[in-house]
């Protein structure tokens, strides 16, 4: 199949397995998606002090995400301008300078080249090679939203706010619970033999898998929500560049619903003050509580509220995660725990325990998810399997009309449905198709120059 027919099939909700296994498709994704879109790199709380840095990748490209000596966040290519050696080989730390181990070219944490051994003798001094004009290459675009640090390799990328669109309304439930924002721990990093899109699609809207894939966590009394009939009462929303799942709440009361998922009164009051009337309405009038979500292409979020101890206490947690592709069939999962900075100490500790039990490298939800993701990827390599078009048409009638109407009085931006349906996964893949078919000729989004 050529790319146009693949995208056409995907847009009809019939998915060629090759999109999860074909290295040629991945090569195009690397250029047309990861080379253009806004990529999440780090959270500001990981680098609170001047000189603090973490090293992160956009596919193969390594970047130093550093708070420079003036307190400004920078995203600098981890590449010495002389011979291309990585100037920083640690994963995190604090440094005023990065010195290349090869020939000792030395850069300040602003990126400026300040040390060049035998500058006069070897390069003819500033007259022939001006140090002032040389600096570690910054990522073409950098944007920070609620502490989340994003970069784009495309200098013509639309603003991050435009990319995110109405999804920022939902993102606030995870990372904007008070004026202080969140602090993160981690990340856990591990490699799975799965295509990166599978997790991104799953988190965006797969409420249908929860009752079966995660049956065991209900059976052991860890999480009371995902029973089949209950899960389908949640809303599936999509707005701007992202979408997610939610659970139906028991009351029509803001504070009672947040208390139901385990937030203490002081945090609820801060949320009440922080969120807009329209945001509060999701929780009081929907009434819905956000759960998993994805901002395209590969940033996902989770919010669940398991039973965290033998006393039966329910405590929610938030996780931020990146599906970092390595190849068509391998992905590094990078998963952070996040909690509001102003949360009481006891809440932070119990919420952290909730996270570790449920998601991340050892999480009991995640363990079963990855089994699905790796198996699907392995199957998608098969030549006979590639004759199948996978059915992603849940929620659509044969003629393409919706089986259920969108929620009429949805308090948030975008569109939302209750009941089971793959509305959001199709939306994620529709955007994937747009990027893939955009060869960068004329549009403002183009980068293949």
């Amino acid at each position: 199949m050529n790319l146009e027919s693949i995208v056409k099939a995907v847009n009809d909700g019939m998915i060629p397995p090759a999109i999860y296994s074909d290295e040629e498709i991945f090569r195009l994704e690397r250029e047309r998606i990861f080379g253009r879109s806004w990529m999440y790199l780090a959270h500001e709380s990981e680098i609170p002090e001047p000189g603090d840095y973490v090293v992160r990748r956009i596919v193969e490209d390594s970047f130093i995400v550093v708070r420079d000596e003036h307190g400004e966040v920078r995203v600098l290519a981890n590449v010495c301008l002389h011979r291309g050696m990585q100037v920083c080989r640690a994963e995190l730390g604090n440094a005023s300078h990065f010195r290349c181990p090869y020939h000792a070219w030395t850069y300040k944490n602003t990126g400026e080249l300040v040390g060049l051994p035998f500058h006069e003798d070897a390069f003819g001094g500033d007259a022939n090679l001006s140090r002032k004009e040389m600096a570690l290459m910054p990522a073409p675009r950098l944007a920070i939203h609620r502490g989340l640090i994003f970069a784009s390799l495309d200098e013509n990328a639309p603003p991050l706010e435009e990319h995110m669109g109405g999804f920022d309304y939902f993102l606030d439930f995870y990372v904007n619970q008070s004026e202080a924002g969140v602090e993160v721990r981690g990340p856990q990093r591990w490699i799975v033999d799965a295509n990166w899109k599978i997790g991104a699609e799953n988190f965006s809207g797969d409420s249908y898998h929860t009752p079966h894939t995660h049956a065991s966590v209900v059976e052991i009394g860890l999480f009371r929500e995902p029973k089949a009939n209950k899960r389908k009462e949640g809303a599936l929303y999509f707005a701007g560049g992202g979408g997610g799942t939610s659970y139906k709440l028991p009351e029509r009361d803001f504070a009672a619903n947040l208390a139901y998922v385990g937030y203490p009164p002081e945090m609820i009051e801060r949320m009440r003050a922080r969120w807009t009337t329209a945001q509060r309405a999701l929780i009081s009038d929907g009434p819905f509580m956000v759960s998993a979500a994805t901002l395209v292409p590969n940033l996902s979020l989770v919010h669940n509220w398991p039973v965290v101890n033998a006393e039966g206490q329910v405590v929610p947690f938030i996780s931020i995660r990146l599906w970092q592709p390595i190849s068509a069939t391998r992905t590094e999962v990078i998963s952070w725990f996040a909690v509001d900075k102003l949360a009481p100490a006891w809440f932070k500790e119990l919420s952290y325990k909730s996270y570790l039990m449920c998601f991340g490298s050892s999480g009991m939800f995640e363990q079963d998810d990855v089994e699905n993701f790796t198996s699907l990827t392995a199957v998608a390599k098969g030549q006979f399997a590639q004759r199948i078009l996978l059915n992603g048409r849940m929620g659509l009638a044969r003629d393409g009309s919706f089986l259920h109407e969108p929620i009429a009085d949805w308090p948030g931006p975008g569109r939302a449905f209750t009941g089971y349906g793959e509305y959001n996964q199709r939306e994620v893949l529709r955007r994937w198709g747009e990027w893939m078919l955009d060869t960068g000729g004329s549009g403002s989004n183009g980068s293949a120059r």
């Binding site: 640690a90 994963e91 591990w190 490699i191 049956a215 065991s216 570790l356 050892s362």
Partner: protein, 180 residues
């Protein structure tokens, strides 16, 4: 960045040959229980106040001393959460281990000291976990050093503390549906 505390053995006396043999056999038998899927029996080897931790390893500059994070873990478990994990494997729906992995835990380099404050024994051991799943996948390996505090419980030992210092910063196993 803060570094995870490791139980110090500085100035402590090594255990007798007889006790060394006893704790080594304890670790071998623990590995045998886990490799054979006897998770309930494994839980019985842990104290009620078990603290079971596997901090995240990072690649840090200059030294290994700061390479285990404090407050950022793969596991940070107590009795409740370990019981839940074992209970989950006993259901019919823990798909990630159904069919189960074939695991082999190689335990070596056992060193043991008598704790300063009584009968506890501090044991350090190397662990190499081999994990094979299905038929087409490459096997996974997890390499770590464990520091345990073993406590006398009648005629036998129980694990009161375990700190797993994993060697990889990026795990090459699809999940930690395994105990280390």
């Amino acid at each position: 960045m803060r570094s995870a505390p490791l139980t110090s053995t500085e100035g402590l006396a090594r255990v007798t040959l007889e006790l060394h043999h006893e704790v080594t056999m304890f670790l071998y038998e623990e590995a045998e229980a886990l490799d054979n899927g006897r998770f309930r029996a494994w839980l019985d080897l842990l104290t009620e106040d078990i603290a079971y931790r596997m901090p995240i390893r990072v690649t840090a500059a200059h030294t290994l001393a700061d390479s285990l994070l404090d407050g950022a873990d793969h596991f940070h478990e107590d009795r409740y959460s370990l019981e839940k994990r074992v209970h989950r494997f006993e259901t019919d729906h823990a798909w990630t281990e159904d069919p189960p992995s074939r695991t082999r835990r190689f335990v070596s380099n056992v060193r043991a000291w008598t704790a300063a404050d009584g009968d506890d024994v501090i044991v350090k051991s190397y662990l190499l976990l081999f994990r094979s799943r299905g038929d087409v996948r490459e096997p996974d390996w997890v390499s770590a050093e464990r520091t345990d505090v073993l406590r006398r419980a009648g005629t036998r030992f129980q694990i009161a503390r375990r700190l797993i210092a994993v060697d990889e910063s990026v795990l090459r196993t699809q999940n930690l549906a395994v105990f280390l």
